[in-house]
């Protein structure tokens, strides 16, 4: 059916665009929604032992890799990175490792705390955000066989099967609905905004710097806290600018909406602070005001994951670009007795 096909295609494309933790998070959300006992494995306290998740009581293991797209100039480099990453995961699962070029048994102490006692993995599922080359199949299957020969197989059956999937295979496996697409799109937006924010250099920060210097004087003994706060405010400010840039580059009509939202945020925050006897208490709620306005203007199905950070960023921008500020109280002129 055409509609179903297009949703699957779009989801596969979206998955392919995600990388790093965003890809892993989406994968977990996706599989959790279709596999009852899908269990993701947190990396704390000492790593995930090469296992990102398991299901079916521990019979099925999942390892995933969201390669950062910009890191590879050629597909060959991407193939090598995927093989290297998954070989590492397989070594952890099979408890083997290379020592002076020789494959040896290497205990994976954390695995005991992850899998149900006595359970061995029977199927290993390797999922990557890119699977456009068959050249990763041979090396990984060969590696698995090699590791199984050396391994004591405490946590994996010697005959465990191996399956490698990419975005298309994952999108095709279970039904794709609008909620799935919406969630994945939000991750794309969040990932792009974060990436853009990292590249933005804040210009003309003299007045912002002056405010932070004044703050240090106003709250003596809190220099370290003010310094940390400066970094957080600037990060939030960059996020607001990144969101603006993302909209301006890809959705100019939404950029115009953002401009109008900003005007309303400024008006509301100004009224709140100027009209209050406790202005700084009110400042604490300014983010909520921004969030309320932005949530009303931007579809939460598409932007929900970034709205909170952008809201905080918009208030930080008001402070950074100067409409909202503070000053030391005026010193009283000295009087002669």
């Amino acid at each position: 059916m055409e509609m179903g096909h297009s949703l699957i295609t779009e989801y596969a494309r979206t998955l392919a665009q995600l990388s790093g933790d965003d890809f892993e998070d989406e994968l977990s959300a996706r599989l959790e929604s279709v596999i009852v006992d899908f269990q993701s494995v947190p990396a704390s306290p000492h790593g995930d032992a090469g296992l990102d998740a398991f299901s079916h009581g521990g019979e099925r293991a999942y390892c995933c890799y969201g390669a950062v797209h910009d890191e590879f100039k050629k597909n060959k480099d991407r193939e090598e990175a995927i093989v290297k990453k998954f070989k590492g995961d397989l070594q952890s699962l099979y408890e083997v490792g290379f020592d002076e070029g020789k494959l040896k048994v290497a205990d994976n102490v954390e695995m005991k705390m992850i899998l149900p006692s006595g359970q061995k993995i029977k199927h290993i599922h390797l999922i990557s955000n890119w699977f456009e080359s068959h050249r990763i199949l041979g090396p990984l299957n060969d590696a698995q066989r090699e590791y199984a020969e050396v391994s004591r197989c405490r946590y994996v059956e010697k005959t465990a099967s191996l399956k490698i999937d990419g975005p298309k295979e994952l999108a095709n496996r279970y039904a794709v609905d609008e909620a799935t697409i919406g969630r994945a799109r939000q991750r794309i937006v969040a990932q792009r905004v974060e990436k853009i924010a990292q590249s933005i250099a804040l210009g003309s920060t003299e007045k912002f710097d002056k405010k932070m210097a004044d703050l240090k004087v106003l709250v003596p003994g809190q220099e370290a806290a003010v310094e940390a706060l400066r970094g957080q405010l600037q990060a939030a400010w960059r996020t607001a600018l990144a969101f603006e840039r993302e909209l301006g580059d890809t959705l100019p009509a939404m950029h115009r909406t953002l401009e109008k939202s900003r005007e309303r945020i400024l008006t509301r925050v100004s009224m709140l602070i100027v009209g209050s006897s406790k202005p700084w208490t009110e400042l604490g709620t300014a983010t909520q005001i921004a969030s309320g306005i932005l949530q009303g203007d931007f579809d939460t199905l598409s932007y929900g994951m970034v709205i909170e950070d952008v809201s905080s960023g918009e208030i930080a921008r008001l402070i950074g670009e100067c409409p909202v500020g503070w000053e030391k109280p005026a010193e009283k002129p000295a009087t002669n007795a």
Partner: protein
């Protein structure tokens, strides 16, 4: 996306315990320049001067409307230049490149602010729409004056530098499709 924490709440907490007095100067927040008609007109004038080709025997000049739209879109967004350069070279990495170029295409095609300015310039007799092109109108000399004035007064230096770089990038029909 890493959570940024609650810097505003922390700031409010610090200020609450201080003697700081609030200062509000809403006028200090400048609206985005991309909605400034004069700025947009100046950029269009510079681009038209640089990229329009002679047309017909009456001394007219013309430019593809799609090409002008893409050129001005990038001029206002210099950070897109590397992406445009890559897009022009063709898809080296298959679907990934396609996805990126699709985003830029969607962006410039939906840039209605540009269309509004072109409508205004057409209404003023500066441009005449001729199918897929913009041709100089009876008052096109005004546009040339704006371009000359910008260069004479050494305004918009970064935009002029970007326009020079754009001259080196072939804009293919594939990039301008969708019209």
């Amino acid at each position: 996306m890493p959570k940024l924490g609650q810097p505003i709440e922390k700031l409010a907490g610090l200020l609450e315990g201080s003697t700081a007095t609030p200062v509000m100067v809403p006028s200090r927040l400048a609206p985005s320049a991309i909605y400034d008609v004069e700025y947009r007109t100046a950029v269009i004038a510079l681009l038209f001067e640089r990229f329009a080709k002679p047309f017909g025997i009456a001394g007219h000049r013309r430019i593809s409307a799609a090409k002008l739209k893409l050129l001005q879109f990038v001029t206002f967004r210099p950070w897109l230049l590397p992406a445009i350069r890559e897009w022009s070279k063709g898809p080296d990495q298959g679907s990934l490149e396609l996805t990126y170029s699709m985003r830029i295409r969607r962006g410039f095609l939906s840039d209605t602010a540009h269309e509004d300015v072109i409508d205004l310039l057409a209404a003023c007799g500066i441009f005449v729409r001729a199918k897929n092109h913009l041709v100089t109108g009876e008052r096109a000399g005004e546009l040339a004056k704006i371009a000359a004035s910008v260069q004479e007064k050494k305004l918009f230096d970064s935009e002029l530098q970007l326009i020079s770089k754009l001259e080196e990038i072939p804009l293919t029909n594939g990039m301008l499709e969708g019209w």
